[in-house]
């Protein structure tokens, strides 16, 4: 495990490997995500993401998008076209808008990526209208984008902490909000999957010399 060198550059391959690691993470944790979603939602979050990331993998095998931005835009589009539900457009927008913000250079700096991810997260917040504390993926994504100012691992830890912190919250957005007070005491599935995505990011960074 290497230090996370916020001064490094990130190439196309890095983003392909991030998506691959994220897919593996989703495959491993799909059951748990669906279980969390069955407590306060409709029991499909794990299979939704599984379907989406599998199709991202298929597409990555067929196409060779040139540049980090193109990889993420392609992945985002793929999620939008295959996931459905709330998480499809939201995660799709996250990747697409992050990708768009990266532009079409063959490599990006750590700072460029940090800025781009913040733009992506902002787009998710705008699309879904959720604020911090509403018990959604925003509760993991916003602290992660913030902590990315320090390092990949700091971002992963912040996301994980954010996800855990959704437990005592009452949901105000998405399906869980229908439950009112009964949503309290359960961890938000979308915040949980967001933490997995950022954990996959940190893992990828650490596996990259």
């Amino acid at each position: 495990m290497t230090d996370q060198k916020p001064d490094r550059t990130l190439d196309t391959d890095f983003f392909r490997r991030w998506l691959t690691a994220a897919t593996a993470m989703v495959e491993r944790e799909a059951g748990r995500l669906t279980e969390l979603d069955s407590a306060i939602g409709d029991a499909d979050h794990g299979s939704n993401l599984q379907r989406g990331f599998r199709s991202v993998m298929t597409e990555l095998g067929k196409e060779s998008p040139a540049g980090p931005g193109a990889v993420l835009v392609m992945a985002g589009r793929q999620l939008i076209s295959t996931v459905g539900g709330a998480s499809g457009p939201l995660y799709g927008t996250l990747l697409r808008r992050t990708g768009k913000a990266l532009g079409d250079t063959p490599e990006v700096t750590y700072e460029q990526f940090t800025e781009a991810l913040r733009a992506g997260v902002a787009a998710v917040a705008q699309l879904g209208g959720a604020k911090a504390g509403d018990k959604t993926m925003i509760d993991a994504l916003e602290p992660a984008a913030e902590a990315l100012g320090t390092s990949f691992r700091a971002a992963a830890e912040a996301a994980e902490k954010g996800a855990l912190a959704t437990v005592p919250l009452q949901a105000r957005k998405g399906r869980a909000s229908y439950l009112g007070e009964r949503s309290i005491g359960h961890q938000d599935p979308g915040a949980t999957s967001s933490a997995l995505l950022i954990a996959a990011l940190a893992d990828t960074a650490e596996a990259t010399p």
Binding site: T34, S38, D42, A43, G88, P89, R175, S177, G180
Partner: protein
């Protein structure tokens, strides 16, 4: 939990193949998951398109046909469809008169239909949208995603579909749809949880002596759990809740809807209690529909939807409809 399926992954595609075989009058695109009435696009007619997660059959595919939906987009089980489906459906039914999207108010459906509307407009299709949000069990406030769309979807699709069939222009069809939604309210009750193919076990644990009040159609727990109630007590509670919210000043159409796992025998018995409460409360009933229409897979339970109608809406209700699940007139 046992299901009559092959593998969870192919449930929706398998169902569409089976639907295509049973209904030659529909044009079913299994690969792209769009169910379109066979004669679309109908010249000069506004298209009415809906869609949502699968598992609520006959909603929406069973409501495609003359006098109701022009097309339906089924998503994965309990998962909103993706924008590509809606764009394809809109393109298939648009005759130049525009398309109305009937969208149940769930974050996923709203976001996906919004994206689809943008894309369809990019392709030169005029799109209007109406949100269905009739479920009075959910508080409509800043602190929720708003009321859910449940049983009123059937009313909106039927009445907007009838208006479109009569040749009404897009704004008019949209206005009808909005009026129907504004005048409709629902309340649902679950006697059992639901089992989705992907999860394979009940979404929540509902003990023998209890029921869930104020449930939706996606296996989410309701607002409140109580000791088991009789048909009479459930009707009292549900109709009271709906009537207090709707406060109808003219006759209503009643939908006594089964969630899928409750036998028709029980639904008819429940209807007797619903009618009793409406009579007691002085609410005149214009029409009644009893059956499994907006379901939640194998969930046991029911919902009551009331739609307050005027003469025009009643005429549109009685207008001919020729779909797999709803047929009358002509």
């Amino acid at each position: 939990m046992k299901m009559l399926i092959n593998v969870p992954e192919t449930v929706v595609a398998d169902a569409l193949r089976g639907m295509a075989a049973a209904h030659p009058e529909l044009s079913v695109d299994v690969a792209n998951r769009v169910v379109v009435r066979g004669d679309a696009p109908v010249a000069g007619k506004v298209g009415v398109v809906s869609g949502g997660g699968s598992g609520h059959e006959p909603l929406h595919g069973g409501f495609v046909g003359p006098g109701m939906l022009s097309a339906a987009c089924p998503g994965e089980v309990f998962t909103s469809p993706v924008p590509d489906q809606m764009v394809r459906a809109a393109a298939a039914v648009d005759s130049g008169a525009g398309v109305l999207f009937v969208v149940k108010n769930y974050t996923g459906d709203v976001l996906n239909f919004d994206m689809a509307a943008e894309l369809a407009e990019d392709e030169g299709i005029q799109v209007a949208k109406v949100l269905v949000n009739d479920d009075v069990a959910v508080t409509d406030s800043l602190y929720t995603a708003g009321r859910r769309g449940t049983g009123a979807t059937l009313f909106v699709e039927k009445l907007a579909g009838a208006a479109a069939e009569e040749g009404a222009p897009l704004e008019r069809v949209e206005a009808i749809a909005r009026r129907v939604n504004d005048r409709s309210r629902s309340f649902g009750v679950a006697l059992s949880a639901v089992t989705t193919p992907a999860k394979g076990s009940p979404t929540f644990d509902l003990p023998e002596g209890e029921l869930e009040l104020g449930i939706g159609i996606h296996g989410e727990p309701g607002r409140e759990r109580r000791a088991m109630m009789t048909s009479r007590e459930i009707a009292d509670f549900a109709v009271h809740t709906v009537v207090e919210d709707l406060r109808p000043s003219s006759p209503v159409i009643v939908l006594v809807n089964g969630m899928g796992g409750t036998p028709l025998l029980e639904l008819y018995g429940f209807n007797a209690e619903v009618q009793r409460v409406l009579t007691e409360r002085g609410v005149p009933v214009a029409r009644t529909l009893v059956g499994n229409y907006v379901t939640s897979l194998d969930m046991a339970g029911c919902s009551v939807t009331l739609c307050q109608v005027d003469e025009e809406l009643l005429r549109l209700w009685d207008a001919p409809v020729q779909t797999a699940a709803l047929r009358w007139g002509r």
